[in-house]
């Protein structure tokens, strides 16, 4: 699997209701480093889901970035309702076949998944 198989993909809940699109993958560097590695392993921690748009946050998902004000406002508005879903709440991801065809690819979440605050500091 590659990151491109998940990013921009439509997200649905267990009942098939559309929730939005994957706009980013949240990684946490908390795995033990491999032999000879300096950096910790990067674990896929969750998916950032934005309800209305596939377009990028341009970096404004971080609470520390607020300027220039009109651009920050515009992007925050477009991404209002975004949430982070933890990886264990992901029930299925697109099959390789769907990914290759570029059509019909969806990520389905587990019933009773939790929505977390996606903001980065």
């Amino acid at each position: 699997m590659i990151a491109g198989d998940l990013i921009d993909v439509e997200v649905r809940d267990a009942d098939g209701e559309r929730l939005g699109y994957v706009v980013d993958l949240r990684l946490v560097l908390d795995r033990p480093p491999e032999a000879g590695a300096v950096l910790a392993g990067a674990r896929l921690h969750g998916l950032v889901v934005s309800p209305r748009t596939r377009t990028s946050f341009l970096g404004y998902e971080r609470t520390s970035v607020r300027a220039p004000w009109p651009i920050a406002q515009l992007l925050r508005r477009r991404h209002r309702g975004s949430f982070l879903v933890h990886w264990p709440d992901v029930a299925s991801v697109p099959s390789l076949d769907a990914t290759r065809r570029g059509k019909g690819a969806i990520v389905v979440l587990r019933r009773g998944f939790d929505r977390y605050d996606p903001a980065l500091t």
Binding site: S56, L58, G59, S64, V65, A67, P68, W69, P70, I71
Partner: protein, 409 residues
């Protein structure tokens, strides 16, 4: 090199390096048709390029990342890819115009057919790119380009009605002989000429070439905020010369040779010779900058190693990109297109490509992960955001106006 001498050198090269074929031609055309009624656009364009060149230079100095790396990083591969294609097209078009401009300027002093000069000019550009040190290249073309001050001298010697020129500048109105659509079309062309995207690609990548650090920020700021406005004054002087001499005679500029006639009238062969040196240097400098920018944008988008500070073999794909750009430019010129017309189109298409280039710069200049404590202040953000709105409007209006006015005919 630091100290007052370096500062002076930086400012002087910024003045000399400000003008390119797009500025020369567009200002002369506009002056011969609209007088100084569009000078306000030059002022606006100069403020805009100062603000964004400063921001892109600041990002390069603090983070070491040049403008197209940032564009790719913030816009993602698709939007940045579209931007790359548009920017490359405009940059190669501008390169074509500059090499054509070099040939036209050389023709003024040599009576050798311009078509013969074109491959020679391109070869000379390539040799400099291949061999000459970045700082030497910048300083020589910049300092020789300073001789374009001859246009300001010429305007002074022509002894124009300063009150009238001031009135045209300060109370702009569409001249009765021209339509409003044509007026606004040329306003966009002037904005595109002053704020051409390659200027920020070049400025930020040049910062990396010269290994700017935070310590160089003050010098860089001085170069931009003093050098560019003086370059803008020269732009207006070119328009002024055309407005004083050519406009009353009903001459509408469509050739490089017409641009220098007011200079000859004012100062004779000596001043003319000085200005022709300036034209050759300005177009050569800009040809180098646009060829480099073609290499910079492509390399930065694709993550290749780039830069004149590396041995050519250590930045092989970057050099290949520049060679291809030069070959394409000469090829386009060899079809017999009028370089002046190419120039006029290149500045308008520049205006179309502006917002996608300037948005990521503004965004990243506010990103503390890149900039640390050097993020933009309020004033810079307010001005930058205002310009972004203006650029979006100009970009959207450019092509419709081009069609309606038949490219300003």
């Amino acid at each position: 090199m630091r100290g007052p001498l370096a500062v002076a050198l930086g400012i002087l090269t910024a003045i000399g390096g400000f003008l390119d074929a797009g500025d020369l031609v567009t200002n002369a055309v506009v002056g011969s048709r609209f007088g100084l009624t569009l000078a306000w656009v030059v002022v606006m364009g100069v403020i805009g390029i100062c603000v964004f060149a400063h921001m892109s230079g600041k990002v390069a100095a603090v983070s070491g990342r040049a403008t197209f790396e940032i564009i790719r990083e913030r816009l993602g591969p698709r939007a940045a890819g579209a931007n790359l294609v548009a920017s490359l097209a405009v940059t190669v078009l501008t390169l074509t115009a500059e090499i054509g401009g070099m040939a036209l300027a050389l023709q003024l002093a040599s009576s050798v057919e311009r078509r013969l000069w074109m491959p020679v000019a391109a070869l000379a550009v390539w040799l400099v790119l291949w061999r000459v040190r970045f700082q030497v290249m910048e300083n020589v073309t910049g300092l020789l380009g300073l001789t374009l001050i001859g246009f300001a001298v010429a305007l002074y010697l022509l002894g124009p009605d300063w009150g009238e020129l001031a009135r045209q500048t300060l109370q702009p109105a569409v001249p009765p002989s021209e339509g409003a659509a044509v007026y606004w079309y040329f306003a966009i062309a002037l904005l595109g000429a002053a704020m051409t995207p390659y200027e920020v690609f070049f400025f930020s990548s040049g910062g990396v070439e010269e290994r700017w650090t935070v310590k160089d920020l003050a010098t860089s700021r001085l170069n931009v905020f003093v050098g560019f406005p003086f370059g803008g004054v020269l732009s207006i002087a070119i328009a002024g010369c055309a407005a004083v001499v050519l406009l009353p005679l009903g001459i509408e500029v469509d050739a490089m040779s017409q641009i220098v006639l007011p200079v000859a009238q004012a100062g004779g062969p000596l001043l003319l010779a000085v200005v022709i040196v300036g034209l050759v240097s300005a177009t050569t400098g800009a040809a180098l900058e646009t060829a480099l920018s073609a290499g910079y944008t492509l390399s930065q988008y694709l993550g290749w190693s780039w830069g004149k500070f590396r041995r050519p073999a250590e930045a092989a794909r970057f050099h290949v990109a520049m060679i291809v750009a030069l070959v394409v430019a000469v090829g386009v010129l060899m079809t017999g297109v009028d370089p002046i017309a190419v120039t006029e189109y290149s500045v308008v298409f520049s205006a179309v490509a502006l917002p996608l280039t300037y948005l990521p710069i503004l965004v990243v200049a506010n990103d503390p992960e890149y900039m640390g404590e050097h993020v933009n202040g309020r004033v810079l953000n307010a001005v930058g955001t205002l310009y972004l709105v203006i650029l979006v409007v100009a970009s959207a209006a450019a092509v419709p106006l081009m069609i309606v006015t038949e490219a300003g005919a």
